[in-house]
């Protein structure tokens, strides 16, 4: 009996100290789909977290959970985080969409921000980057660089974000190289090094000499390096994995967004917003261009980056047709964000079907 009282007292004291401790600091949680060391997607989100820590110093405490499966497990992790006193939680993968909304309903005082999704509520904001702007630039480079006219694309899930990337890269590769073909392999996972490596190998075996990936690990880049073909990194600079193979990487820079959101929560001005930033805002950036890219191609790519930045050029500009030959965008017409956000079709020229 006595022992129990002491224990209860200790627990109460512990609870008191933690609440007192938590009151001073804003607690920010991050849920990751992969390990922080994947060298791609999750690494960049984690860099954003570290930037928040550095920016706010003692005023903030961050927590994170890696390798959280998309689905029921995510709800458990999110609930745990909310219960542990997090004020703001970033859920950094598409598959966390419904779990985020479900948990947010139960914790109206906790703010949530879900990456790459499209469902919002009073305390759930969404954010994403216009990766397709980056894809336009690497598509342009790929079209110029391929000698076999075959570009390989390792795709994860058939969601609008991924389809948009394929379309954007293809349109711009086709513009500079009418003979270019895209071979798309869907592997239905964001992060499985062995599968990504096998997919890369299958593409290389079939004569692909430029690889793009929309998956999270550096495995495709390593295979490209081993086979002597070129590849584009995804989400993070993958030069370590492919010192000669990498042409450039699309880099996602989440730090400014994470810092702004944390600041808003501290100030009490946080609102549920939909953020979709691109090259202009710095959310989409590039790794250093490889020397393997000829100077004129490099200049054109830089020009495209500048034009996208200034708003003079939009990657989805007509005339464009859908895969089935029906008209999509007339001459000079640009796609609106609503269409882009829900894109579920290939543009004309791409072969194969989008899986359901």
């Amino acid at each position: 009996m006595k022992r129990r009282t002491i224990l209860a007292g200790a627990v109460a004291a512990l609870a008191l100290t933690t609440t007192a401790f938590a009151e001073d600091k804003t607690k920010v949680g991050f849920v990751y789909v992969g390990p922080v060391g994947d060298g791609g997607w999750t690494t960049e989100h984690n860099n954003g977290r570290l930037a928040v820590e550095e920016h706010f110093g003692d005023k903030v405490e961050t927590i994170f959970q890696e390798k959280v499966p998309e689905g029921a497990d995510a709800e458990r992790v999110l609930t745990q985080m909310a219960l542990s006193g997090a004020d703001l939680i970033f859920t950094t993968s598409f598959g966390y969409m419904d779990p985020t909304l479900n948990v947010a309903k139960k914790f109206p005082d906790v703010k949530f921000a879900h990456a790459t999704g499209f469902k919002r509520s009073d305390n759930v904001a969404t954010y994403s980057a216009r990766f397709y702007e980056g894809r336009a630039v690497i598509g342009h480079i790929a079209g110029n660089m391929t000698k076999t006219n075959k570009v390989g694309y390792i795709a994860s899930f058939p969601i609008p974000e991924v389809i948009r990337g394929i379309n954007s890269a293809y349109i711009h590769a086709k513009k500079v190289n009418p003979d270019v073909e895209f071979n798309v392999v869907w592997i239905f996972t964001w992060e499985d090094a062995a599968k990504e490596a096998d997919a890369a190998q299958a593409l290389i075996d079939q004569g692909v000499d430029v690889l793009m990936q929309h998956t999270d690990t550096t495995a495709p880049m390593l295979r490209a390096e081993a086979s002597g073909v070129h590849a584009f990194g995804q989400a993070s600079d993958m030069k370590v994995a492919g010192p000669t193979a990498q042409l450039t990487s699309i880099i996602d820079d989440w730090a400014p967004y994470y810092i702004a959101q944390t600041q808003a929560v501290m100030d009490g001005t946080w609102q549920s917003t939909d953020t979709w930033d691109g090259i202009k805002e710095g959310m989409v950036d590039f790794a250093e261009f490889s020397d393997a890219i000829p100077q004129d191609v490099r200049d054109e790519a830089n020009k495209m980056i500048e034009d996208i930045k200034s708003g003079a050029y939009k990657p989805f500009t007509g005339p464009l047709k859908k895969q089935d030959g029906s008209d999509w965008l007339a001459e000079g017409e640009t796609a609106d964000d609503g269409t882009l956000a829900g894109m579920n079709f290939y543009v004309e020229g791409l072969t194969g079907d989008i899986p359901n």
């Binding site: 390990p35 060391g37 390798k67 239905f188 495995a219 194969g352």
Partner: protein
């Protein structure tokens, strides 16, 4: 669709590479199960081998030392299982599952400082003129040493089980441990050795992933290969050469579905992706269906003492 883009020789060659990790793990588990022990910790031992091999290869710069370390790592981890099940007579299924969970956690802890590093490169074996033989050359004679060692191991295990005294003792222990004990064989010792062998093989399989097939270290990179290896042992009705067949079939379907997709085949991807697992399930169902006399193929082929604890006092 352009099926001509798929080169059969390259397909067969990458099939052999894709099958090697599961083949190694399955061969190890075959020996373990032949001795009457069911170790469900293959996945955990594989992933531990993957990081042990990777870490040591990076530190020493030698892939060979890495593979040796991977085998040692897998064997040491399996000894935990061996001690618990053979001396403390714990439940083998529960202990094996725990070993998998432990291995996954331990490996990500050990791997913290090895993410994003490239391991020392492993050259393919130069077999000279053999590699230039049309068709056969690229398929059979253009691989790294581990592929050949694994094949040799497969044949070696087959011969050992069939022709040698050691193989006979192992099978005796697995079929009827009481009789083997009565004949004076050290049941626990034999089983411990088998468990260690299984751990070493699983470790090598894991290291093949992290050092050759990918090659890099990422957490949880075995992604269920250990479970496939377990299924393949049943699939093969505990026969080494059928394990080879099972592993190549599984590896083959995996590689084929990626190649078909790359070639733009119109089969829905979902079916292709699930096909290796589907085939495994179908075969397991056939194996488990009762035959005349009420016993299934699986229960007839399985070692009679599989999963049963042994103590000399019983």
């Amino acid at each position: 669709m352009d099926l001509s883009a798929i080169s059969p020789t390259l397909l067969l060659a990458s099939l052999m590479v894709a099958a090697t990790p599961i083949l190694l793990a399955a061969l190890g588990e075959l020996i373990v199960e032949k001795s009457g022990v069911l170790n469900l910790g293959v996945e955990g031992m594989m992933i531990t081998g993957a990081i042990c091999g990777f870490a040591i290869a990076v530190e020493t710069g030698s892939p060979v030392v890495g593979f040796i370390a991977a085998a040692a790592g897998g064997a040491v981890l399996s000894l935990i299982f061996g001690f618990l099940t053979q001396y403390l007579l714990s439940n083998q299924v529960a202990t094996g599952l725990a070993l998998t969970l432990f291995g996954l956690g331990l490996s990500s802890l050990m791997g913290q400082s090895y993410v994003g590093i490239r391991p020392p490169a492993i050259e393919k074996l130069n077999l000279g003129p053999l590699a230039d033989i049309p068709l056969l050359g690229p398929v059979l004679f253009n691989h790294d040493l581990m592929v050949y060692l694994t094949l040799a191991l497969c044949v070696g295990i087959w011969a050992t089980l069939k022709f040698t005294r050691a193989g006979l003792i192992l099978r005796a222990v697995g079929e009827n441990h009481d009789a083997a004990h009565a004949l004076g064989y050290k049941v626990v010792k034999v089983r411990l050795l088998a468990i260690m062998f299984g751990g070493a093989c699983a470790g090598l399989g894991g290291a093949y992933l992290s050092l050759i097939r990918v090659p890099q270290w990422t957490e949880g990179m075995t992604a269920g290969a250990g479970w496939i290896a377990l299924a393949i042992v049943v699939f093969a009705s505990w026969r080494p050469l059928r394990v080879l067949l099972g592993a190549y079939l599984f590896g083959g379907v995996t590689v084929l579905q990626l190649n078909l997709q790359a070639a733009g085949l119109a089969i829905p991807v979902e079916y292709l992706s699930m096909s290796p697992y589907l085939i495994t399930i179908v075969v397991l169902v056939i194996m488990s269906a009762p035959r005349k006399g009420g016993k299934s193929r699986a229960s007839l082929a399985a070692p009679a003492c599989l999963g049963r604890a042994f103590h000399a006092s019983q």
